[in-house]
């Protein structure tokens, strides 16, 4: 099992490296159009063919991987920080603050994730530049995905506050910010880190859902979600298997995350 985990981590590392080097590895820019070659089959010049607008699929896949694979961790970091701030302070202070935060997390957890996302997404402009749409999509994921993690962190902070270790720290004169910073936060780090890592595949899949529904990253910027949207125009599975490469890559990447994060899932 350890070998499988190592292989998964290596695959993800290779994928991140390839996406970071997209500028060198991609034959052309993701937006460059070969107007005389729309929907071309794979060839030496275009290993994965071209899309309806004549854009090189391999280049779009590499740049799309960069967008999805680098911004999902950024969104996960944002949601983990929010969860640490909200859940940590609620667990530390306790009382009415904890009750209010628990009510807020109940509300957020009862709101079906996609309903909430598309509602807030609809509040924001839909006709924005591609880069702004990327920022909006992933910032929304980060800002709305804190509730489950906050609940776990709040429970852990509450437990820590009642522990012998914290009692001893209080007895030796530690209180307030010092107690929080020196004793509570370091002990919450493993849980926080687990929440961060397990959020990444969730955000990748959510972005894919939003992208397929046309509410994610705007054209011509590619992401895994917007690349998968192309499947909408197919009527059969046969004939053009290279169209399914982004889907295969998404499944592989998310599987690798699940394999690599088994320990973190146990922590969370």
């Amino acid at each position: 099992m350890k070998g499988v985990r190592v292989a998964a981590i290596l695959f993800l590392a290779a994928l991140v490296a390839a996406s970071l080097l997209a500028g060198f590895l991609a034959p052309v820019s993701y937006a460059h159009q070969f107007r005389d070659l729309p929907d071309a089959a794979p060839s030496h010049q275009h290993p994965l063919g071209t899309d309806d607008l004549g854009r090189d699929r391999l280049s779009r896949l590499l740049y799309g991987t960069r967008v999805s694979l680098l911004l999902a961790p950024a969104a996960a970091l944002l949601s983990s920080l929010l969860a640490a701030l909200i859940g940590g302070s609620a667990g530390f202070v306790g009382g009415w603050l904890e009750a209010a935060v628990m009510a807020a997390t109940d509300l957020f957890l009862s709101l079906p994730w996609l309903f909430l996302l598309i509602t807030v997404r609809a509040l924001l402009p839909l006709n924005v530049s591609p880069v702004t749409s990327v920022a909006i999509t992933f910032a929304l994921l980060g800002c709305l995905g804190w509730a489950a993690a906050a609940r776990v962190i709040c429970a852990n902070a509450h437990k820590l506050c009642g522990s012998d270790m914290v009692l001893l720290a209080r007895a030796t004169g530690s209180s307030g910010f010092r107690l929080l910073w020196r004793h509570i936060v370091p002990n919450l780090m493993p849980v926080l880190s687990a929440q961060f890592w397990i959020s990444i595949p969730v955000f990748i899949l959510t972005e894919a859902n939003l992208g397929v529904l046309g509410l994610g990253v705007a054209e011509p910027l590619p992401s895994w979600g917007s690349l998968l949207r192309e499947l909408e125009s197919f009527s059969t599975f046969s004939g053009q298997p290279w169209h399914f490469v982004p889907l295969a890559l998404l499944i592989l990447a998310v599987s690798c995350f699940h394999l690599a994060l088994q320990k973190q899932e146990a922590w969370a």
Binding site: A103, A122, P201, L231, I251
Partner: protein
């Protein structure tokens, strides 16, 4: 009784918070109180002002909250500016389709998920576990929207997709839970005394795991409703998921907020019912 009151008051508090949040979203949405009629170049500034007043654009936030919640309590769910119909009518027409596909999806997901988890937890050979785990892992990596697209290409019935979204979560969670319960000392004792697998499962393993399985049931309702959006939008099923998608694309906030609140209410009810069903019927507090 105290516990039930606590659950009910928490439920009401969350519903109240949801109502205020929903009203804020509608009131603060860009374009609130603006009507297409205002684009008519023949209208004077006074006429435009009168239209805005009629739309409530100048209303203060607290006054808006009061009127919005009052309207909701009287059954007036607002008007869809995109579909030019009262939201209540749209809901009446579309909710049954969603309830049917969500219900079917939950039934499929739970039947296969829990069934295979029971087989995997109690079977001595690991083949059932391996096969089901592999299937669940693959499905867990597929976004609901992609599953919907694949079903459209395969011309398969879209109603089954929600089952495929619910199945992996139920299977993986239930399998771990049942395996943990199957390793408890009282189960080992029962096994040592020669009890059969089925009897051990029904009498000694499932009752221990039941509260957590019930909690999962509540969560799976939320999961199924969330999956309804891409499934109905892409498979052209006329339910509230498709309506929510259309409302999002058309920035029809009034419809979207009412839909979100109704789905939240349903999932909250499911979660509260699951928590109440999972609490101990006698003995001390959990």
């Amino acid at each position: 009784m105290r516990k039930v009151c606590k659950y009910v008051s928490r439920f009401l508090l969350v519903v109240g918070l949801g109502g205020i949040l929903g009203a804020s979203l509608v009131r603060l949405a860009p374009g609130y109180g603006v009507d297409e009629e205002e684009l008519d170049s023949r209208l004077s500034q006074e006429s435009i002002q009168a239209i805005r007043q009629a739309q409530g654009a100048d209303e203060s936030l607290p006054s808006y909250f009061f009127h919005y919640l009052n309207k909701l309590l009287h059954g007036d769910l607002g008007y869809s500016r995109r579909l030019h119909q009262p939201v209540g009518q749209l809901l009446t027409a579309r909710l049954p389709e969603t309830l049917k596909s969500v219900g079917l999806g939950l039934a499929i997901g739970w039947t296969f998920g829990l069934g295979l988890a029971m087989v995997a937890a109690m079977s001595p050979s690991g083949f059932a576990d391996l096969g089901a785990s592999l299937l669940a892992s693959i499905l867990l990596c597929l976004p609901a929207a992609v599953l919907a697209l694949l079903f459209v290409i395969a011309q398969a019935p879209g109603q089954l997709i929600i089952g495929l979204v619910v199945f992996p979560k139920v299977f993986l969670y239930a399998r771990n839970l049942l395996a943990e319960s199957a390793g408890l000392p009282h189960v080992l004792t029962a096994r040592a005394k020669g009890l059969g697998n089925l009897r051990i499962l029904l009498w000694h393993v499932l009752p221990v795991a039941a509260p957590q399985l019930l909690a999962l049931a509540g969560v799976s309702v939320s999961l199924a409703f969330a999956a309804a959006i891409p499934v109905e939008a892409l498979c052209d099923l006329p339910g509230i998921g498709q309506l929510a998608w259309q409302a999002a694309l058309g920035r029809d906030m009034e419809t979207l907020v009412v839909l979100t609140m109704i789905v939240t209410l349903v999932t909250l009810l499911a979660n509260t019912a699951a928590e109440l069903a999972g609490r101990p019927t006698h003995g001390g507090e959990r």
